[in-house]
């Protein structure tokens, strides 16, 4: 394991534990202001969308691929549809992956 890896793991461990322990440690002396509570609710959607959108629209990291041959785009759309229509995360994951791999295989 490189020193860089070790530093990444130590850093991630420290911040993750401090967040999880924050209120367990402080007791009920501290309360979130309402604005912070509201902001926290948007974090998962904002972060996950920011990760997924570029991966799907520019699969190679440099070129836009806005057409039906883009397996990433098609797979993500299928996942989105399943999640929206059936509200089932594992099905959304499985369905999207199935279409993604099928599409890559068909176009290969």
């Amino acid at each position: 394991m490189s020193q860089y890896e070790l530093a990444v793991i130590l850093g991630m461990t420290a911040v993750t534990f401090l967040i999880r322990y924050s209120f367990f440690a402080l007791g009920d002396k501290v309360q979130f202001p309402p604005l912070v509570k509201r902001a926290l609710r948007y974090v998962p959607v904002a972060v996950l969308t920011a990760i997924v959108v570029p991966m799907v629209l520019l699969p190679d990291g440099r070129h836009w691929q806005l057409d039906w041959r883009n397996a990433w785009l098609l797979g993500a759309l299928v996942s989105a549809f399943i999640a929206w229509r059936f509200n089932h995360l594992l099905a959304a994951m499985g369905g999207g992956m199935a279409v993604f791999f099928l599409w890559r295989w068909l176009l290969a």
Binding site: I9, G11, T13, T16, D28, L40, A71
Partner: protein, 241 residues
């Protein structure tokens, strides 16, 4: 979860693990995929296992892989982890009344093992009508089950990744895209939430060439700000109506 059992330490511990079973099954594929992708993303076997053993936070571990393979800096990875895992502070705050009477000997490990899944399961138990003084044993049972499960499946993934050459070219990263897409869509219940996603996606595209993946943080910030502002405006409009 309605089965009656005599609340002994052992009974609570086992029941906590048993009630976490669906969550264990749900986490298994993610553990395998994390372990499989670790090598191609530049993590050694020890590094992958270390991350699951010490960080123990699935979504941030996945994001760390993406960032590592993109050549992100240490500060960006740690700060992104902080942002992504901030929601756990809300869980910590919510569960506090139930663990406040326990000593640090309990609170520290239960905090370390706090995940979305265990939070969901133990919330239910702490809220149950019976006044059992041993509900923290149930909490421990769910925690240990999730932890052991995550480590075992990470190891399976790492070993799979090592025994198949070229696994990184199969496009397994797409599993992450599919999962995150599913999570995002299931959260898009209100207009401000949709607007937050659009803003985050747009900024992520515009800022994609920033060094150390800083664009990701900028995009997340944009999404949060847009969501909070729109929610605030919606609330004032409703008051005026």
């Amino acid at each position: 979860m309605t089965t009656t059992f005599h609340p002994t330490r052992h009974g609570e511990l086992l029941q906590g693990a048993r009630d976490s079973l669906p969550m264990l099954a749900g986490a298994a594929p993610f553990g395998i995929i994390f372990g499989t992708l670790a090598g191609p993303s530049g993590l050694s076997l020890l590094g992958a296992m270390g991350m699951s053993l010490f960080v123990f936070a699935g979504s941030s571990q996945f994001i760390a892989l993406t960032l590592l393979s993109g050549g992100a800096g240490l500060a960006v990875i740690v700060f992104t982890t902080f942002v992504v895992n901030l929601r756990h502070a809300l869980y910590s705050a919510t569960l506090l009344p139930h663990v406040a009477s326990l000593g640090q000997r309990w609170r520290i490990p239960l905090a370390f093992w706090l995940t979305d899944e265990t939070f969901a399961v133990v919330q239910h138990r702490y809220g149950a009508a019976d006044a059992s003084p041993l509900k923290h044993w149930y909490h421990l049972g769910s925690s240990l089950a999730m932890y052991g499960n995550w480590i075992v499946w990470t190891l399976v993934g790492v070993l799979l990744g090592r025994s198949f050459e070229g696994l990184d070219k199969l496009g397994l990263e797409f599993a992450m895209v599919a999962t995150f897409t599913g999570i995002v869509v299931s959260l898009l219940k209100t207009r401000p939430m949709v607007a937050a996603a659009i803003a985050a996606g747009a900024v992520a595209l515009l800022a994609r060439d920033m060094p150390y993946k800083l664009g990701l943080l900028l995009a997340a910030l944009a999404g949060v700000v847009v969501g909070v502002l729109l929610e605030g405006r919606q609330a004032t409009e409703e008051e005026q109506a």
